[in-house]
């Protein structure tokens, strides 16, 4: 059995490295120009954002992130978001300083990074893994381009 299936506890710096790898996977799928690969690319794009948001949560709540069992009630929500959840919107709601930083970056650059982040956090779900519907590679490339720019701010 490949060791990649083992659960690991990662530091934020390791999570950033993993996010880059998954971004590379998404790009490779987009580079095929094949609509059949679009769902996979969009799933991975959202997953990159998930990893980066989790890295932020781990940085902000390092002691909670280390607790896997007997988590105090007050820290249970954060623990759930780090260890169990794939709900990007709930993660973003817990990261107000990040939201403000993304807004500032948007104002500096003239690119609506804050809207892009909220859009991805709103629309992306893990249900893409099971979806029988298909999207297009053009849509996937659009998302990839947004995530490429966002990940530099989210790191």
């Amino acid at each position: 059995m490949a060791r990649i299936f083992e659960r690991q506890v990662l530091k934020p710096s390791q999570l950033y490295a993993v996010a880059e790898k998954r971004f590379g996977d998404a790009k490779a799928l987009c580079d095929t120009q094949d609509n059949e690969r679009a769902n996979g690319a969009m799933y991975l794009c959202g997953f990159v954002v998930e990893i980066l948001l989790k890295a932020r949560l781990v940085r902000l709540h390092s002691s909670t992130a280390k607790m896997r069992r007997d988590v105090p009630d007050a820290e249970r929500k954060i623990s759930q978001l780090i260890w169990r959840s794939h709900n990007l919107l709930e993660m973003l709601v817990e990261l107000r300083p990040l939201e403000a930083a993304v807004k500032k970056a948007a104002e500096r650059s003239g690119q609506p990074f804050d809207h892009w982040l909220k859009d991805i956090c709103t629309t992306w779900t893990i249900h893409a893994r099971y979806s029988s519907r298909s999207t297009t590679i053009a849509e996937a490339r659009d998302m990839l381009d947004r995530v490429r720019q966002l990940k530099e701010i989210l790191k």
Partner: protein
């Protein structure tokens, strides 16, 4: 039921008009917070990719709201008529 701030009432009206929306609902993300999610159902979204729909809605948010007010909008659900069932299934 929470009373919406004036900025969100303004936004609701403008989204309804500019997007010819069948419905616009603005709800607090959590009770007693100053964050809101916006759900728009408009025929203008038919055949439009998700991210483009939201770009369109955010353009209106930016026109109607100040910087601080726009930060109160946490999520926009931009749906075409008939998509509400899919949306509910995801929650």
């Amino acid at each position: 039921m929470t009373e919406l701030p004036d900025s969100m009432k303004r936004l609701e009206e403008r989204l309804r008009t500019d997007l010819e929306a069948e419905s616009v609902e603005i709800d607090p993300v959590e009770p007693s917070t100053d964050r809101f999610s916006v759900t728009i159902i408009s025929p203008k979204f038919i055949g439009m990719p998700d991210l483009r729909r939201q770009d369109l809605a955010w353009e209106i948010v930016d026109k109607v709201c100040s910087r601080e007010e726009s930060m109160m909008v946490t999520a926009i659900w931009a749906l075409a008529p008939g998509e509400i069932t899919t949306y509910l299934e995801r929650l």
